[in-house]
Symmetry: none
């Protein structure tokens, strides 16, 4: 399969990586209906760990079965499917070679009182399960942020040496940030930038709001204004923060919303130069047909305008 | 390339180091317009991690792209370029062999409420990326200072065995120090001395002010007065504290200032026997032409008087 | 070089140690003007770390240069020189084989608000630098004492396997002890005993005062009185506490004093059966000629009466 | 130091290598009088191991001293100096940073009755000595060839991970080859190709003669004739065999010859697209002035026509 | 103990070694009656392993006891004592610190039909026994030479990292060499050179005879004649072969001979610039008084003329 010019250009950004890592990035970028466009839609299913099974799957009980998600991602023509160890183990043989997978190697849960995560998977796991990447979440600003970053450093070094890609979920939370601060424009951009600095190949952040949270940053934004009123320009600011647009950045779908609101968000991400959507609850909690329809609409946003 | 007498003399200070480490120090000291003089100008770009991307790069958006900094350092004829993992990865192949690099292997950020840092790079990373040195920041006086020192100890031992040099940023901060104390003369000298004691090859501290901060030290300074009124004599005191001038000591540019104030500071560093400037924000936040002009002026200070 | 009867007798105390450790103890005991007497004078230069460079070296600026201390120890005919990593690295090749060195592998500093230390050297460092021993400080009674003891345990075990000796600085300080308590007779004896119990080959404590600090100990001292009025008998009590005199115990010179007071203290240490003096500030802060004179006088105390 | 377009083009051939290896190749290619041209002259001094000290150095006794060879390579403005462990150890600190070195990590000798070699250096040695590459000799056709290839594989993998380059001397010898066969055109091309296949970055072979040695190959050469009468076209055939000219190939100077014959050979190598000469005996066995003259003439061949 | 100018000069040859290795070389060079002269007499007692106990010790049964050899070396004022594991273990504690020891870490025996050796000691053994160096024998030309060299390489790298010195016995034997060839001038020089190339700090070979053994070498010796008629000029040729005299070379006493013949040989070694004698059988097989007399006479040769 010949890589498109755009995918080759994207791979050239990762100039220090070995061909194995490049090949795995290429697999993700060339897969599915968006294959070759440089845009991606990824299905993440770590909700069960984060929020518990009922909050995750009761709205659509078919989704209790891990095979459901592989099938959803494949039928929808997505680029990759990301999940924790058990979810991948439960389908990796059946769907071997059918879709790139991302092994989520750390996880938090709603029963924790601390903003930390457990490492729940390894690079060896990712290799034996045929995954293309590991996924790791950091919580910048958490009192555990430095421990999480050090875990990421170690796992990322190992993953890269083994030819895997590294996907980082960068979700700010902690004593300095109120709820609004967690998705503030300056904070999202900062979180994305730190993931890039730590060597992430694909960066996942939440879509930023108009808020500027950090006092120390306000002066900068006054002097160097960003149009905060449009999602597209806010997305542009975040992708700028990722090495001037030379890292893949995808945005989560956020809280459950209407199909139209989600598609609208994709339009903003697209317009701002984001590389795509990573969208879980908003798809697997819907009946499958609806989910496929929604995903097709999102893909259309990224594709028809590619 | 034949080493100058001065560079050979400097290498002789590092008598316990293996030839690999000496060769990497030589590479840094022989590079660029100051090559061979024993003086250095280094470009550090860890601002993105420390202060966030907008505060670092919005004043000069071209600097969002990591390649910009490699180019700036090469065009300006600097001795080395220092940055965290992702920044180095994003240009290390394109600029392989073009300028010595220093992999900054720990990083803090403005979203932290503690005076600690995360280890974000390794000696293996430095080797695979072709770096000449690792860089590490300690915060003497921080409640995490001992942990940071122990991380440094371990990384430095490994780096030296692999023939790399070790650059230590020694930035005092913590419960015993108010803002003025962080750059007080006695504190800067102490911070520099501790870095030397931990085996640093190159020591980076802030230019010291006239303040004497530690009560316990005041008597000493009264009995053994240092001329605190001139920057040159304060710099001299700091380099004395680094093994009587037998360790390389470079000084940060400090807060954003006018070009003239920065060049003036270089004059003081030069006159006091400091080994050079490590200057980030004051260059990459300026338009490139201005930055090149400023760096040329700083280099002239160190060079014309060499 | 034939060992003296006295040195052989001392080595026999360390019957569980391997010949490598014994050889390194022999090197220290056979070196210098006191070589063979079983008494020692050691030069420790960790003041720079503990108190900062100006408080340590400004009174005698030649001492900023690490080579100064090697030379002082060699010219004075001392038994060993102890210092942190950077100080040893800066002279270990020039003075290779010229005097036994003790690598101080942990260090505190005056900018710390906690009574803890950082591990700043390793057994591998000691081997590559040709040291005869590692040195480690514990602060019995500190809230970090157990962590420090556990670090000591691990390093001491490793050092002994590699044929190195272990020197322990045992300096009580912490919430239960006021200033007077830190050098109280019962506390000094207790601190020395704990160092012996942890497997130290050479124990360094401060000269004890007449104070009995621990309430729980007072009854014992009343029942079993020690002549606390003479330094000699207090020293005897401390050496008794070190396995009935079967461990090497040396005493620090304490705060800066007159030459005569320091020589007088050596007389007390000698008379009480102490194994010698470990004396830093009181020598390297004096002009070299004075320091050599003072050290010669101290050595005379231990030697002429040997 | 800005890389030339040609050196960048050469580095692009090594697309799977990490930036560290590329930087070390760049160091070699940018050094000396041919720096930047893509052509190289390398000084190899492994003759002492291979042929004994008198046969190597008696004609020019100054060459017994390892420092002589560092100086010769530096003064002549060569690209690199290659030698076994002891030779590098004896000068690596004095000449740290002055010229790229290649640690020859295996060695044979004239007292062996088998066509094998001993591994006599390691990647760790290369790092601690500041080398840019390891060098390894294989004897294709020897009864020990597979053992040697397996040793190379292991060392090369380790070297590449540590950011070093790999130089392979490929010298066919063994039961199938008579003396003429060892430098036959088909055999040289085959030996060079195998080195390329094993992942060598720089390949060293002997200049090929007009002989076609392998019966099985003769038919091919009849069907697809190579102009064997000119050295240039034979060199072209060998460089073609190294990935169509996309690997660096250098040629040994061969047996002792006249200065003119050696320069003439360089002309052929140049014309055939070879990347340079690796020339030992023919330089260090001459008086230094003669050797410098000869090397200058060889360099002129590669340079003036570059 | 202040090192002499000559010993400092010798240490400067070993510029790539760490201070630990330099200190151990200094210990050997500063020990005994020749301490400081740069000349050495070493007692090796590996005969028991090589020739069996009766052939070694029956002529002087006191020598069955390992302590005898420590005492002999100490009383004679030698520089070091070399022996296999068991011999060192049997006296290392009693004689700890009394004389530098060299742990012979491989051994052959007369019951072998192959010219190989077993590795019988480790670097850890050397450290726990307080040895200053490891000793290793290679048999250049043996069919096992490459295996032995590879064992040496690995042990030497480990020893150097731990601050030990490496002594290599280079004894040619094998299918290409008849008895005369084993001590032929060209072969001795070659054997010594190979030990230097493998990184030996001290090289032990047999005194060379007038024979030139290797056909390939004869032409060289005709063209570049060595005065083979005097031992001194033959010794000079061997030391030249060891980096132009910049490695320590000692010569074995050879077969049992008269006291006068052995002293005469020392005169030749001295005159030819050899660094001393390593002499076993010829001392420990004599009654102790005779042995001490002989060693005193040998030492006089090296000392009075120093």
């Amino acid at each position: 399969m010949k890589l498109t010019h755009r995918v080759k250009e994207i791979l050239s950004w990762y100039e220090s990586d070995n061909p194995g890592t490049k090949a795995n990035l290429a697999r993700i970028l060339m897969e599915g209906k968006l294959g070759g466009t440089g845009r991606m839609v990824i299905l993440p299913v770590d909700q069960g760990f984060e929020h518990g099974p009922a909050r995750s799957f009761a709205p659509n009980p078919a989704a209790y079965d891990p095979r459901y998600h592989f099938e959803l991602a494949i039928e929808a023509g997505l680029n990759a499917y990301a999940a924790p160890l058990g979810m991948i183990e439960a389908g990796a043989a059946t769907f071997a070679g059918a879709i790139p997978t991302i092994l989520k190697v750390n996880s938090s849960n709603s029963l924790s009182t601390t903003k930390d995560q457990a490492v729940t998977g390894s690079v060896s796991d990712a290799l034996r399960l045929g995954c293309s990447a590991i996924g790791f979440t950091i919580y910048p600003s958490s009192e555990y942020q430095f421990e999480m970053m050090e875990e990421l450093r170690e796992l990322a070094e190992e993953a890269k040496a083994a030819g895997l890609a590294v996907v980082v979920w960068s979700y700010p939370r902690g004593p300095m940030l109120d709820k609004a601060g967690e998705t503030a424009l300056d904070i999202c951009a900062y979180a994305a930038h730190m993931a890039a600095l730590m060597g992430a190949h694909i960066i996942k952040v939440k879509p930023p709001t108009e808020v500027i949270s950090l006092d120390a940053a306000k002066k900068t934004y006054e002097k160097n204004p960003v149009d905060t009123t449009s999602l597209a320009s806010r997305i542009r600011h975040v992708t700028d923060a990722c090495f001037g647009g030379r890292r893949l950045v995808v945005f989560s779908g956020g809280e459950a919303g209407t199909a139209e609101s989600i598609v609208e968000m994709a339009r903003g991400i697209y317009a701002g130069g984001g590389n795509g959507s990573i969208i879980g609850r908003n798809t697997f909690q819907r009946p499958k047909a609806e989910a496929l329809k929604l995903l097709a609409d999102i893909i259309d946003v990224y594709k028809t305008q590619a």
